[in-house]
């Protein structure tokens, strides 16, 4: 069936619509051969049902050292080093399960819902700061980055006095405009900061996640790694979902009223934004044994790239998939992944997105772009899709 010549992963987003997956990606069949950054010939999955079954199938591994990189990162073509203890995103069961069991209790639906009030207060502080500044500003630092950074500080137990330093470091670590050396330096400083924080919490525990974890059986190194993973996986993602989400809403103004229709409407709207934008667009798994898939045989050791953004626009799963429709039922989207590694922080992310987006459009009903949509600087090649900045304005009081 698929005798198409193996091709690299299409990554170039089409000019025009900043939300559409790379042109070329969706012309690929649901399963095809793909050339990886190091020349490995593996596979690419674009169909929803197939993507789901690969992600859920434990014959496919998430181990970093087995995985080939779909595309080079700043010239680096792999291989990745094995995940260190605590970096469970790159581990399989049973190690992976051990960490999930230690952490999942801290991220339950129930626990995250009780956090909603605090997220609301944090959001209100950010919106107050916007109002105090007045119309005409970049929404990314004051809102999209600020809300998730303050929430994660609260969750981890970063002391109030350190929050500015923490946020600055986290921003620098995720700054795509900075060189590799600068971001690495920021990452290291952040790692050092977390190590200090873990030490502090072990000595004088407070009421937060890190303190809780220090009483368990994780080693010091594991605690620092887990802290770093939570930040690495939780901060840039949520910030970009907020930034790109607002951008999408401002360019679909007919949809904005839905954000003011109450909790149920907002819940659905957030799921649709997650589906439509699929900011974490690409995942990789590796076959541990020969696996038959859609009439093909994936050989042991071959990498499979899951193109979540194509899967989330599979017309067999979602009717009229290229339309942003906040009222549709988007359940089953793959924006938080699928299978044992499905996002640990998704219930937190949901609460943040609901509270922050609803809060923004309630407080600033006349919010609009301050520049033409095609002048908003969009990330073109990042692992996480988003905007670099989002100039907005509104009618002042």
């Amino acid at each position: 069936m698929t005798t198409v010549t193996p091709e690299p992963l299409p990554t170039e987003r089409p000019r025009g619509c900043p939300f559409d997956p790379p042109s070329g990606l969706r012309d690929r069949p649901r399963l095809s051969r793909m050339v990886y950054a190091d020349g490995h010939v593996g596979w690419l999955v674009t169909g929803h049902a197939l993507a789901r079954s690969v992600a859920a199938d434990r014959r496919f591994s998430s181990r970093h050292e087995l995985m080939r990189l779909p595309v080079a990162r700043a010239g680096f073509t792999g291989p990745l080093p094995p995940a260190t203890p605590g970096m469970f995103i790159g581990l399989d069961a049973p190690e992976h399960t051990r960490y999930r069991r230690l952490l999942a209790g801290k991220f339950t639906v129930r626990r995250m819902n009780t956090l909603a009030e605090r997220v609301g207060e944090i959001t209100a502080e950010c919106l107050d700061a916007m109002a105090a500044h007045g119309p005409g500003l970049d929404l990314v630092p004051v809102f999209a980055q600020a809300v998730p950074a303050l929430v994660i500080c609260e969750l981890l137990g970063v002391p109030t006095d350190d929050r500015e330093r923490f946020q600055r470091l986290a921003e620098a670590a995720n700054d795509l405009d900075a060189g590799l050396e600068e971001t690495q330096a920021a990452m290291e400083e952040l790692g050092g900061y977390i190590a200090g924080l873990v030490r502090e919490k072990a000595e004088t525990p407070t009421d937060d996640l890190l303190s809780d974890l220090t009483t368990g059986d994780l080693s010091f190194e594991e605690l620092v790694t887990v802290g770093t993973l939570l930040l690495g996986a939780g901060l840039d993602t949520t910030a970009n979902m907020l930034g790109l989400g607002v951008f999408a809403l401002l360019t679909h103004p007919d949809q904005i009223p839905v954000m003011r229709e109450g909790p149920e409407a907002v819940e659905k709207a957030v799921e649709e934004l997650l589906r439509y934008l699929t900011i974490a667009h690409t995942g990789v798994r590796v076959a541990l044994e020969d696996v038959e898939l859609a009439g093909q045989v994936i050989r042991a050791g071959e990498s499979v790239t899951i193109a979540a953004q194509a899967a989330n626009r599979d017309p067999e799963k979602f009717a009229d998939p290229d339309t942003l429709d906040l009222r549709r039922d988007s359940a089953g989207h793959l924006s938080f992944g699928h299978g044992p590694h499905q996002c640990l922080g998704q219930q937190l992310a949901r609460v943040e997105l609901r509270v922050a987006l609803a809060g923004l459009f309630a407080r600033f009903p006349t919010l609009r772009l301050a520049v033409p949509a095609d002048e908003v600087p969009v990330r073109r090649h990042a692992d996480i899709h988003g905007v670099h900045s989002l100039p907005v304005t509104w009618d002042g009081e």
Binding site: A56, R100, R101, L103, A104, T108, A331, P340, Q342, C343
Partner: protein, 64 residues
């Protein structure tokens, strides 16, 4: 036909508690699925079906 829960597979993602909050909850320590109340989950309930469909780990399934 009934609902089968295998907690050894559960990764605490919470899709069940999100989809059918009256039927599934999560253990406060491990985050794993716990049925709410004594009654067995009803496979005819659309919310339960949604939990089965969206559970990422295969911990909640429909018995044949």
């Amino acid at each position: 036909m009934g609902i089968v829960i295998d907690r050894s597979l559960c990764v605490g993602a919470g899709m069940c508690a999100l989809s059918a909050p009256g039927v599934f909850d999560q253990d406060p320590d491990e985050g794993t699925v716990t049925p709410v109340g004594g009654a067995a989950p009803d496979p005819g309930d659309p919310a339960v079906r949604r939990a089965v469909d969206t559970c990422p780990s295969g911990a909640i399934t429909l018995a044949p």
